[in-house]
């Protein structure tokens, strides 16, 4: 058994068949920034939309290099995949500001009959930019944990003519309120128009693109997400913005019954069985699509970063 295989089996819990095992110290491995569709006149322009997605910054291979400690490196070498935001945000209950999220995606597909379970697991870390101190009187004004609104991972899936997006997010902080709980993508019973913030004219469907659609409320509720009971979890944000600790999370779903199965972060596991996904009639040309993805969102006018050391996508 090679060292790589020992590390894979020690750090991860893959299902029977591994679609990809991406260690970002070896390169991007096909992970790229999610961008809008370039399909329109006059010059491959973007269809009109309520949420401007062409401002999501590029994903990059990061050495996690900071002002004082220098390079933090990664868990598996020097480089990890980094998602970032621009230093812009809107209040939680408003439409996400252009550039307030970063989004990475890889594009795969189903390849064997009878696959039921699908799983994504990764080692990750996150931090906020060490740009400026918070105002006078703020305790630890150089600790910016509250700048990180949310991060998450999941899939965009279409199989047997139904499309659905499943995933989990850590709602860390909204409008300055540190909540640190886990939520799954699952839509409230709303119309497509309500899903699009009550505005006409977008192509969106309830349940699709929950990261930026679905109305959000001042108490933290989000029509695109469902709170996992007893999911408050303080993750490691280690004393200063320039210390990273690599942490583990795993999401397993059932693509036969279109249900969540379980979610794990660090040493806690939540049973999600019986939670049906929000599915819609399939889109053209994408049946059997599996797109694993990650995202991060800022809660202040400050860049925040989400790092992935390595990721495994598996099926059985």
């Amino acid at each position: 058994m090679s060292v790589d295989e020992i590390l894979l089996r020690s750090r991860f819990q893959p299902l029977e068949r591994i679609l990809c095992y991406d260690v970002f110290n070896t390169g991007f491995n096909g992970w790229m920034t999610l961008l809008p569709n370039f399909t329109e006149y006059p010059d491959f322009d973007v269809p009109p939309t309520l949420v401007n997605k062409d401002q999501w910054p590029p994903v990059m291979l990061s050495s996690a290099t900071y002002r004082y400690p220098g390079s933090h490196g990664a868990m598996s070498g020097t480089f990890s995949l980094k998602l970032s935001t621009r230093p812009v945000h809107s209040p939680y209950e408003e439409i996400p500001a252009p550039g307030s999220m970063g989004h990475a995606i890889k594009r795969l597909s189903f390849y064997r009959p009878g696959s039921r379970y699908l799983q994504i697991e990764c080692w990750f870390s996150y931090t906020a930019e060490q740009d400026s101190l918070d105002p006078e009187g703020t305790p630890q004004p150089g600790l910016h944990e509250k700048s990180i609104r949310a991060f998450g991972m999941g899939f965009d899936i279409q199989e047997r003519g139904e499309r659905y997006q499943v995933g989990v997010r850590h709602l860390n902080c909204f409008n300055g309120n540190l909540v640190q709980r886990w939520e799954i993508e699952n839509s409230a019973d709303v119309t497509d128009k309500e899903w699009a913030f009550g505005l006409e004219g977008d192509w969106c469907k309830r349940g699709i693109d929950p990261w930026w659609f679905g109305r959000r409320y001042p108490d933290g509720r989000h029509e695109a997400f469902q709170i996992i009971p007893d999911s408050h979890q303080k993750l490691i944000y280690n004393e200063t913005d320039c210390k990273l600790n690599w942490q583990y999370m795993r999401l397993k779903i059932d693509t036969l019954n279109r249900e969540y199965v379980e979610f794990q972060c660090q040493d806690r596991i939540w049973d999600l069985r019986g939670t049906h996904v929000t599915d819609v009639p399939g889109y053209h040309r994408i049946d059997n699509l599996i797109n694993p993805l990650f995202w991060v969102e800022t809660d202040q006018d400050r860049r925040v970063f989400f790092y992935i050391d390595s990721v495994v996508v598996s099926q059985e």
Partner: protein, 110 residues
């Protein structure tokens, strides 16, 4: 085999005045090229001056010591980055005399 990657920094957007591109980490690469694509123009033949900047932390920036590059006109304008750029890199851009509709990419190999 070497690594290569191209990333967008700006896509299909009008710009005027001064701005900086998103801080980008390139510690894995030996060479880099910024591609500025001017798609549309408003004004009287506006010019764009770009300076390559580097940083030790992605927050504080300084010139990499190369000469600023001034371009104008619709089309593709490559800016080859001088070697020894380290890790953090960005373009500092000044547009004078109008507005430009830009795409900006960074290509890297190493």
């Amino acid at each position: 085999m070497k690594q290569f990657n191209a990333s967008h920094l700006e896509i299909k957007k009008w710009f005027t005045g001064s701005f900086n591109t998103h801080p980008y980490e390139l510690g894995w690469a030996d060479e880099a090229i910024f591609f500025i694509i001017i798609e549309h123009i408003k004004g009287n033949n506006p010019t764009l001056t770009a300076r390559v900047e580097i940083s030790h932390d992605g927050v504080t920036w300084a010139s990499d010591g190369s000469c600023p590059v001034t371009i104008s006109g619709i089309g593709l304008h490559p800016i080859k980055v001088e070697p020894n750029f380290g890790n953090w890199i960005r373009l500092a851009v000044d547009i004078d005399g109008g507005e430009l509709f830009l795409n900006i990419q960074i290509h890297a190999k190493g």
